[in-house]
Symmetry: C2
Subunit: 226 residues, 2 copies
DNA sequence: GTTTAAATGTGATTCATGTCACACATTTAT
DNA sequence: ATAAATGTGTGACATGAATCACATTTAAAC
């Protein structure tokens, strides 16, 4: 039964914890679950969209087309909602989402989502809170982007993956060097060079995509002042 | 009577158009109006805050402390709400707001604001919409920041002021060269140089702070591809 | 009106990082 | 298994823009 499924699955997300059984039941009726393999596009910039996406499991990159090249604006890890800012204003996606590993996503009809917002004020307040947090994060990302050099941004993103995504100091990079460059807003060559340098100085250990953060203090320092 | 005042003033903002008379009356009771002169700080990063600010008239810069220097993240023109992202999560301001011209601001108690969000779902939906729009804007700003060079960002911001803030091709820059540099994420010297250059090429005309945009097409072009 | 301080313009210099070039490795297709 | 395609490391070089240094203008203070 889909109703049950929604109740057990969506409840992992903080805003949805405020939804009542009856509301979850409504959700369940128009909630479609889909599995995406690594590399598959979940939604695409400039395409029409009338869904909010709830990311049940997996990892996703959000990408936006710039004047020169594609850029990764952030990584999103399940459980979370995707595509609120892109869907709720007009019906056109202003960025793309691509799976970085096998990912389960539920498509929620936008009008249904909106009526949930109206029905349950605790739910909508949590959504507001999350949006506010996102905006702040984005502000800080911007500031770092300008005032730190590539070295600092690289360190920041490595730490971020360790702390927020994998919760471990050893993990496999979910991105190619090229994608990593798009994330830290640099070029493939520079990223490659700087990773080697960190490796030589014993701050990290890197073998292909596998990475181990060794000297966290030094990384923090580079992240702040680099 | 304060109640009347709120009804006539707040209604200019789109989200507040959804508030009912009774709700506006509640607002009026705990809404404090203050006038800020040019240069005065409305709220300050790292300080405690328990207010949402409604900007009635005027122009404000939002600034954030970076590892090296202060940076202007955006200009906000009345009428609008200020400080949602900074206040609603925790109680600490994550950025500062400073008046760029004489500005009238209403301080709204946060808990009151929150209860309005709960009471009136149309209101909260409009707020969500505005937050989503902000996040998108911020994404795009980030992308431009990285992929355009200073010339392009300069042009973008000039056009922005003409179109969004002053709605005229001739206006007085509300910022010093230093502040303008903080806005386009560059240095005072570079901004000065590039403005001179645009002036010499007859794309803009500049005399001190007074600026006139002449060749809008060329500016658009620089804004896109510069 | 004179003095002082702040804001601005412009040249010379330096540096981080993007770009080009190519070798090598790894994956995918045939 | 071999070929083709894609991803990666590293050197050489070019360049946008920050920084330093100083002249000059504008605004503020007395």
């Amino acid at each position: 039964m889909q109703t049950v499924k929604c109740a057990t699955c969506l409840l992992k997300s903080k805003p949805a914890q405020n939804l009542e059984d009856s509301e979850l039941a409504i959700l369940g009726q128009s909630c479609v679950e889909t599995v995406f393999e690594k590399g598959e596009t979940i939604f695409k910039q400039d395409a029409l969209s009338s869904n909010i996406i709830y990311l049940q499991t997996g990892l996703v990159k959000l990408m936006i087309k710039g004047p020169q090249r594609m850029q990764i604006i952030k990584l999103k890890k399940a459980p979370c909602f995707l595509g609120l800012p892109t869907t709720i204003g007009d019906k056109i996606n202003h960025y793309s989402a691509v799976a970085l590993e096998q990912t389960t996503a539920c498509f929620i009809d936008l009008s249904l989502f909106k009526s949930l917002l109206r029905m349950n004020s605790d739910f909508s307040c949590e959504i507001i809170l999350e949006l506010c947090k996102n905006e702040l994060d984005q502000f800080n990302r911007c500031v770092k982007l300008v005032q730190n050099q590539v070295f600092g941004r690289l360190a920041t993103n490595l730490l971020n993956m360790a702390n927020e995504i994998y919760r471990a100091n050893e993990f496999d990079l979910p991105l190619s060097r090229n994608e990593f460059a798009d994330l830290v807003c640099s070029s493939r060559e520079t990223v490659s060079r700087l990773l080697s340098e960190l490796n030589q100085e014993g701050i990290i250990e890197i073998r292909g995509k596998h990475i181990r953060l060794i000297d966290l203090n030094k990384l923090e320092d580079i992240s702040r002042n680099g």
